[in-house]
C-alpha cells in the first residue's frame, strides 16, 4: 500500500464555506441584475455579501440527521396521544377554542413563511443568506404540517377545526393575520426578512410560544405541547438568522439605517396588533392560566426585547415610537379584544364565554388598575343577561382599521372610555385607522394599503355570499349567507360555549371514560 500523507484537517468554518458559499459563482452569461432581480429595489445597499456571518453551520447531512430524529419522536407522541383519546385529558373543553385559533390563524402563517423564505432564499445574491433562508423555508413547512397533523385528531371530535385554509382566505377576523403576512411577503426580500426574521421571530415569538406551548402544557394538551417544543429548536435557529440578518444589513452601509428603522417601527406595531388575539387567549381562553398577558409582555418584550434594542443601539437603532402606547395598552388589551370577540361570536369558528367568578377574581388581581373599574361591570352584565337567556350578539358589522384590519375596538391612549378613531383622505377616499401608528404605516405606503381586502367592506359589497345568492330576495339573511360562504356551521361552530355541542360531547365522553356502566 502506498504511504499516505495525512490530509490537513479543515476548520469547521473553512469546511462550511466550501460546502455552501463556494458553490456559487458570479454569472457572466447573464447579468447579475437579471439573475437576482429583487436585490436592489428596496434601496438597501450591500457592498460585500462575503461579510455575511453564517449564524449556524448546518450541512444537509447533519440537518437530515437531527431533524429525522425529532420527527420520529414527535410523530410517536402524536400517535400515542391520539390513540389514547388524549383530548379527554385537557382541563376543560373551553381550552380547545384556543387551539382552533391556532390552526386557523397561526398554521397558515407558517405556510406563508415557508413560501416567503423560499422567495428570500432565491432572491438574495449572497449564498450564505440564501442557504439559511432555504433551511428556514423547509422548517416552516415542517411547522405547518406538524401542527396540522397534531390537531387533526381534535378535528375528528370537535367543531371549528374543519376548514382552516378556506377560512383563512375569508373569515373576517382571519384577515388580521392574513394581511399581516401578505404585507410581509409582498414587501421586498430585505423587508420580509426584517419583518418576519427579526420583528416577529426574534422580538415577538416568545409571546406566541408562552400562551400556546406553555398553555398547552398547563392544560393537558400533549399534542400541541409536543409540536411546540419540537419546533422550538428550529426557532432558536430562526431567531439567530433574524438577528444576524439585521446586523449584516446595518453593518453594510450607514444609509441602510433609516430604512431598517422604519421597518422595525412598522413591524413592531404590526406584530403587536396581531398579538392582541394572543393577549385575549392568555387571559381568557386557557382554563389553567400560565401568566397574565401583562406579565408575559413585561418579561418577553419589555425586559428581553429591551435588552435586544440596547444591543442594537450601537448601530443607531432606537426603540420604536409605538412602545409607549404599547406600554399603556397592556392593561387593557386582552379585555377589549375578548369583549369584541364575545360580541361577534355569532360569526366566529370558535366559542366564547364570560369568565366565571373565580376567573374574574384572577383578572382583578392581575389587572388591579383597570379590570374592576372598566371591564368587570360590563362582563357581569353580559353574564347576567346570558343567564337570563339573553346572550348578547352584536350583528352590526364593525368598522375596520385599514392597516391592521382589527375592528375599531381599541381606546384612546390615556382614556379607556373613548374608542380611538383616526382617518385620512387619500385620492378622494376616506380611510380609517385604529391608532396613530397604523395611520403612519398607511401614510408611508398608501398605494399598498388602499388595496386591502377588508372583510366588512366586502360583505357590504355582496362579495361574501355563496354563489348564486340573491340578497334582494325576501327573507334573505345576510349573516347566514356569510357564514355559509365561510363554511362555518351555524349553531355548531359558533356562539357561546355554554350549551355548545363541544361542551356536551366533552362532558359525555369524559363521563364514559370515567364510569363503568
Amino acid at each position: 500500500m502506498d504511504m499516505q500523507v495525512p490530509k490537513k484537517k479543515l476548520g469547521l468554518k473553512e469546511r462550511y464555506t466550501l460546502m455552501t458559499r463556494d458553490l456559487a459563482w458570479d454569472t457572466s452569461y447573464q447579468p447579475k441584475e437579471k439573475v437576482y432581480p429583487y436585490a436592489d429595489y428596496e434601496g438597501i445597499k450591500i457592498h460585500d455579501w462575503d461579510k455575511w456571518e453564517d449564524p449556524f453551520r448546518l450541512t444537509m447531512d447533519a440537518y437530515w440527521k437531527y431533524q429525522a430524529e425529532k420527527e420520529r419522536k414527535l410523530y410517536a407522541i402524536i400517535d400515542a396521544y391520539s390513540q389514547s383519546n388524549g383530548h379527554l385529558g385537557v382541563t376543560d373543553a373551553r381550552y380547545l377554542n384556543a387551539i382552533k385559533i391556532f390552526l386557523t390563524a397561526v398554521t397558515p402563517l407558517e405556510y406563508m413563511a415557508h413560501r416567503g423564505f423560499a422567495h428570500a432564499g432565491r432572491a438574495f445574491p449572497g449564498p450564505g443568506a440564501r442557504v439559511a433562508c432555504m433551511m428556514q423555508a423547509i422548517d416552516e413547512m415542517r411547522h405547518a404540517q406538524t401542527q396540522i397533523h397534531s390537531l387533526s385528531n381534535y378535528n375528528k371530535y370537535y367543531n371549528g377545526f374543519h376548514d382552516a385554509p378556506h377560512m383563512y382566505d375569508r373569515v373576517w377576523y382571519l384577515s388580521v393575520p392574513k394581511s399581516f403576512f401578505d404585507d410581509a411577503i409582498t414587501a421586498g426580500p430585505f423587508e420580509f426578512i426584517v419583518s418576519v426574521g427579526f420583528s416577529f421571530e426574534y422580538v415577538l415569538t416568545n409571546l406566541l410560544f408562552v400562551p400556546f406551548v406553555s398553555g398547552a402544557a398547563y392544560n393537558g394538551d400533549m399534542g400541541t405541547m409536543t409540536f411546540g417544543f419540537s419546533a422550538q429548536s428550529d426557532e432558536a435557529r430562526h431567531m439567530t438568522l433574524g438577528l444576524e440578518c439585521i446586523k449584516f444589513i446595518l453593518e453594510q452601509d450607514p444609509a441602510n439605517l433609516p430604512i431598517v428603522q422604519r421597518w422595525i417601527d412598522k413591524w413592531t406595531w404590526r406584530g403587536v396588533r396581531l398579538l392582541s388575539i394572543v393577549a385575549m387567549m392568555m387571559d381568557y381562553m386557557l382554563p389553567k392560566r400560565v401568566m397574565s398577558w401583562k406579565e408575559a409582555w413585561e418579561i418577553y418584550f419589555e425586559e428581553n426585547g429591551g435588552a435586544l434594542f440596547k444591543d442594537l443601539a450601537r448601530y443607531g437603532i432606537r426603540m420604536p415610537d409605538c412602545c409607549e402606547q404599547i406600554r399603556q395598552e397592556k392593561d387593557h388589551l386582552s379585555h377589549q379584544v375578548w369583549a369584541a370577540f364575545y360580541n361577534y361570536s355569532a360569526a366566529t369558528d370558535f366559542h366564547t364565554w364570560m369568565p366565571d367568578e373565580d376567573e374574574m377574581k384572577w383578572l382583578s388581581q392581575k389587572y388591579p388598575d383597570t379590570f374592576d373599574q372598566h371591564y368587570r361591570p360590563r362582563f357581569e352584565f353580559w353574564r347576567e343577561q346570558q343567564q337570563k337567556g339573553n346572550r348578547f350578539y352584536n350583528k352590526t358589522l364593525p368598522m375596520l382599521c385599514q392597516t391592521c384590519q382589527i375592528p375599531m375596538l381599541f381606546t384612546e391612549p390615556g382614556d379607556p372610555t373613548k374608542i380611538c378613531y383616526r382617518e385620512r383622505d387619500y385620492k378622494g377616499s376616506k380611510y380609517h385607522f385604529c391608532s396613530d401608528h397604523c395611520q403612519h404605516i398607511f401614510d408611508n405606503e398608501p398605494e399598498k394599503y388602499v388595496q386591502a381586502w377588508l372583510p366588512v367592506h366586502q360583505i357590504y359589497q355582496g362579495n361574501c355570499f355563496p354563489e348564486g345568492s340573491d340578497p334582494t330576495a325576501p327573507g334573505f339573511d345576510p349573516l347566514a349567507a356569510v357564514l355559509e360562504h365561510y363554511r362555518l356551521n351555524a349553531g355548531r361552530d359558533n356562539g357561546d360555549f355554554e350549551g355548545s355541542e363541544d361542551q356536551r360531547n366533552f362532558e359525555a365522553w369524559r363521563g364514559m371514560a370515567k364510569r363503568n356502566d
Binding site: M1, L10, R15, L18, M19, T20, L23, W25, T27, Y29, Y38, Y41, T59, D61, W64, K65, Q67, A68, E71, R72, L74, N85, G89, P108, Y111, M112, R115, A118, G121, R122, A123, V131, M135, I138, R142, A144, T146, I148, H149, S152, K156, Y157, H162, D163, P165, H166, R170, K178, S179, D182, T186, G188, P189, K448, Q451, W453, Q458, W509, R510, A513
Partner: protein
Amino acid sequence: MQIDLRTVSIKPQRQTYGHIERRFGDKPASRYQEGTFDLQPTANFHYRPTWDPDHEIFDAARTALKMQDWYAFKDPRQYYYGAWTLARARQQDTAESNFDFVESRNLGALLPEDVRQLALDLLLPLRHVAWGANMNNASVCAYGYGTAITQPCMFHAMDNLAIAQYLTRIGLLLGDPGALATAKEHWLYAADWQGLRRVVEDSLVVQDWFELFIAQNLVLDGLVYPLFYKTLVEDALSLRGGTAVAMLTQFMTEWYAETAKWVDAQIKTACAESPENAALVRGWIAAWQSRALDALTPLAQRALGERAGAALDDLATQFAARVAKCGVPA
C-alpha cells in the same frame, strides 16, 4: 389525569378536514394528504407583490401552463416534511458508511491516477450545476402554484444542495481544497464547461416556473445524471478500477432514480390535462434538450473519448423514450 379508555370507543364526528373530505371522501386521510392539499391560499389576497405588481402573491398566471386543478400534481412518493426527512436521513446513513468505507480503507489512494483525475475533473464542477439546480427549485417553490408541486420542489432544492455538498466531500476525499478551486476555475473558464455553464445561467433567468421545472428537473438532470453518474462513473470508471467513486456517488444514483419518477408524474399530469399543455411541454423540452445535449458533447468526449458519440446517441434515445412515456407528443 390518567384515563383508561380501553373499553371506551368514541365515534368521531368526522374523519378528516373538510377540504380533504371534499377531495377524497369522508375517510381517514394520510398525512401527505392533510399536510399538502389546499394548503396554499388562493383568494382575497390583500396586496400585490411590490416585486411583481402584475401578479397576485400566488398566481396561476406565472406559467403559460393551464390546469383545472393544480393539486392534480400529486407526488407518487407522498412526501411531506416528515416522510422526506426520514427518507433522506436513511439515505444519508448509507452515504456516510460508504464514505467511511472508502476513507477507512484508503480506497481513494488506491484509485488509478488517471481515474482519480478524471473523476475530479468531471465531477467537481457539477457542484455548481447542483447549486444552479438548487436555485431553480427554490424559484419554483417561491413562484409556483399549489402546494402539491411547490412543496416537493423545495425538498428537491435541498436535495440539490446536499448533492453539491456530497460532491464537495468527494473533492476533499479524493483531492484537497485545491482540487475544488481548480474545478471552479474550469467551470468558469475552461472551454469544455462553458456550454453547460451558459445553459445553467440561462435557466436562472427563466420566468415561467413550469418551463423552469422542465428545463432543470427533466431536461438538465435527465441528461446530466445518466451521463455522469451512470455512463461515466458506474460504467466507464468502474471498469478501470474506480468502483470507489461509484460508492461515493451512490446517493446521486439512487436519488435520481427516485426523483425521476416524481418528475415524470408531473410531466404526465401536465400533458394529460390538455393538448395545449402537451404542446407547451413539448416545445420547452425540445428547446432545452438540444441546447443541453450540445453543451454536454465536449464533456462526454472528455469523459469517454471515442465512445462519446455512441454514448450521447444512447443518452438522447433513452431520454426520448422517457419523454414519450410521459405522454409528451412527438
